[in-house]
Amino acid sequence: MLMTNLLSTLVWLPIIGGAALLAIGDNGDARASRTAFMRIVALAVTLLTFALSIILYAAFDNAATGMQFVERVAWIESLQVFYYLGVDGISAPLILLTTFITPLVVIAGWDSIKDRPAQYFAAFLILEGLMIGVFSALDGLLFYVFWEAMLIPMFLIIGVWGGERRVYATLKFFLYTFLGSVLMLVAFIYLYLQSGSFDLFGFMNVPLELSVQKYIFIAFLLAFAVKVPMWPVHTWLPDAHVEAPTGGSVILAAIMLKMGGYGFVRLSLPIVPDGSEYFSGLMIALSLIAVVYIGFVALMQTDMKKLIAYSSIAHMGFVTLGMFLLWHIAAETGAGLGMTGAMVQMISHGLISGAMFLCVGVLYDRVHSREIADYGGVANTMPVFAAFMVLFSMANAGLPGTSGFVGEFMVIIASFKANFWYAFLAASTLVLGAAYTLWMVKRVVYGEVANDQVAELQDLNSREFIVLAMLAISVLLVGLWPAPLVDMMNVSIELLIEQVGQTKL
């Protein structure tokens, strides 16, 4: 029973948990016991979801081709829409990432959320379910429903619990991503009319002319490029990140950005392979601009959250770069390398950026400032925290031995095989990334104690320690021993590359 409905359980358990929290409600009763009850329920639900995803991982067959844990029930018969879920080696790791990060976010909001805790935790639980839904949906319409519904809790998280300019940031976030996605809906409906159902595999098999493929690619590109985000449609991200509460930033950076990359892999590449090939040069150019130009922009930031937001854009450039190198590498020399690198980079960036935002959150909870200039010499008063922060910064800069290294290195190798100049530009991140991250660490963590507030800082409490330690372990684990992760993806990536290689004209 559980095994046949495992994915549904993963999707609906957090959503039902969130709805239950909303139903109990805050009721203007601000007693500590009530707040405590809310967060214990939230933590229990997210931990249970995580435990279930571990079962998913354990039962996942690395060697199997095709989808696993498939569930398929008719949903809207007149439109041939199915409630169709399933995972493969591309989506399963992303689901694990989601279920791993969400409990950490709940723990991170433990003390800092005093305003309407029930709604806060409910929003995160519902968001978790919807995100798992996006990663497991195999029906176009179902995918779209999860994809758009996800905006609602995030809109509220930024708008209600965010910083000063939260209304501006959250409206910009919502409208930007909504505008990006609606054209994807038109593309889905077009594909439905061509193939007769909303089944993604039906979309993949229907023959399409090149001109149509180009339009569909552009429609998908708008949706996914906004989410990744790629230059030049990235401007919502720094605003959203800066204004969002810590938990919101973590989810946004760690998981929601991955949706864009996932969309390219799950939809753009297999559904419009010829269109993707046609635009691959453009995609590589945009990715390289993100890596280099946004790297420089990050260097100039004075706000820590903004700096990490820009660094996210630069790192996500590697994801899109790795994916679209496919057509520029001869198959026998390992076309899969770039794709695998991109996928590993997604997971790794999820861990590292989440950790970086949590570190900023730790500081912000104490000092209520995100300005680099307000800090200095934090290592003197918070030695344990400083150790974590330095570790994550090293990972962000791509130090070997951390997860940040694996994905970027694979993508850089792949780009070498394609073109020296691609590799040259991509490799500049090793310098730029190190520069902006370590310069920030130098100014914040090292040096003399800058002011009285820093002098009074308390080091991590046990809750914060657990969260950061969990992330540190995973960052090192993926960095030192990426094999389990790569093995999980291999078969699916090979299958994908084979599929992309077949023209649909």
């Binding site: 909303l22 409600g25 805050d26 009721n27 203007g28 008719a74 949903w75 809207i76 018969e77 007149s78 439109l79 829409v81 309407r116 709604q119 319409l141 779209y144 429903v145 758009e148 519904a149 905006l151 609602i152 809109f155 509220l156 708008g159 209600v160 939260r166 209304v167 959250t170 409206l171 919502f174 409208l175 909504f178 505008l179 609606v182 054209l183 809906l185 038109v186 409906i189 077009y190 439905y192 009319l193």
Partner: protein, 477 residues
Amino acid sequence: MNYMDLISAAPEMTLLGLICVVLIADLFIDDEHRVYTFWLSMASLIVTAAVIYATAPVSRVVLFDGSYVSDGLSQVLKLGSVIFVGLAFFYARDYLRVNEIHKGEYYLLGLFGLLGMMIMTSANSLLTMYLGLETLALSLYALVAIDRNNVTAAESAMKYFVLGAIASGCLLYGISWVYGVTGSLQFHEIAAAITADPSLNNLPLWFGLTFLIVGIAFKFGGVPFHMWLPDVYQGARTPVTLYLASAPKLAALALALRILVDGLGGLHETWSSMIMVVAVLSLLVGNIVAIAQTNIKRMLGYSTIGHVGFILLGIFCGTGEGDAAALFYTLTYVVAAAGSFGVIIVLSRRGYEAENLTDFNGLNARSPWVALLMMFLMFSMAGVPPFVGFFGKLNVISAVLSAGYPGLAVLMVLASVVGAYYYLKVIWYMYFEEAEDKAILQASTDTRFVLSLNALAVLALGIVPGWLMALCIQVLG
């Protein structure tokens, strides 16, 4: 004539009889016990609904020398109208009592309006259609003016009456031309005449058609015949606006489908371009002008105009799929519209109307549940899944794409992004701003319960939209 045939027209006859009973009973009810009129009206609605359900014809039945038709479409629209009128009465009761305008006329005029709507949905001739339309329109004019001491209500009633009379005149003029050219008032005979003699499909008939479309566009509130709509929505008392915004949209849909599809389906090429212009203008004007509104009733008025654009684009396709999409859209849109005016009523209290957007400030702190319901309704109207408004838009876009108009489909989704902004604004005021007005909501438990059902319906219908879509396709397929 077989008298058993009359059974198909039983819903209208029953309702008329019951209205007479309520009318007389109301004379003997004093103001303190006015709520009895409400319960009597509700009972009449329930009986009417039961009769509609019981007399559902197996196949299409045409009565009274071809002037009256009873088919799947009329059944669905009649049941829908009864439900929405009942909903309007429910929301209105406390509001009217608290504001001391609790007169029996609200319910009676509402019931007469319902009778007009039912006649319209079952009209099989231009004349029956016109009679139904006037029954509805006259009730609406009087309803808008129900609070006669209120200057804005009186003004908007006057405006509505004058413009409505002009529109009716246009419709009647168009009817006379169509009758003159085709020699018949009945839809199936008009259609047959056009098929038999293609030379009829010419300027004189097009001339009449244009006036018919003016009439239809006016009743829907399509641009450029929308001027009355925001003023009347804003000027009328909220329960009246609620009534106006809900069931009559179904009647307007019947008006359009019966005349354009049943009667003049052969002229699709000619009317589709006119409908398209009205629809596209409605989409743009409605959604863009709504952004600038500060009065929520007026804003919802403009938003209605935007939604009318979607409904008309469904009809524009001229396919069974498009008509079914328009029907689904109208039914589900009306659920959300009734709910959002219901929220305004729930927020109002004696002498105070929550009609400015800023009156929603901090609603989440005052009443998280009502704020959540309003959020559902707003996201549904904005077309964000999983709420039912999304599936309405999906159907219409799908119909437009399969009719071969990708450009229109793109325009529709872009217009809905523009529209999303003002719906988000309501949510922004409710959730992100502090409450200025800390008063506790006074709505009674049963009103809250109905409101909850109403708003949760947009979520429930969004999670299981299949059966309603199948029903719409079945009655129009």
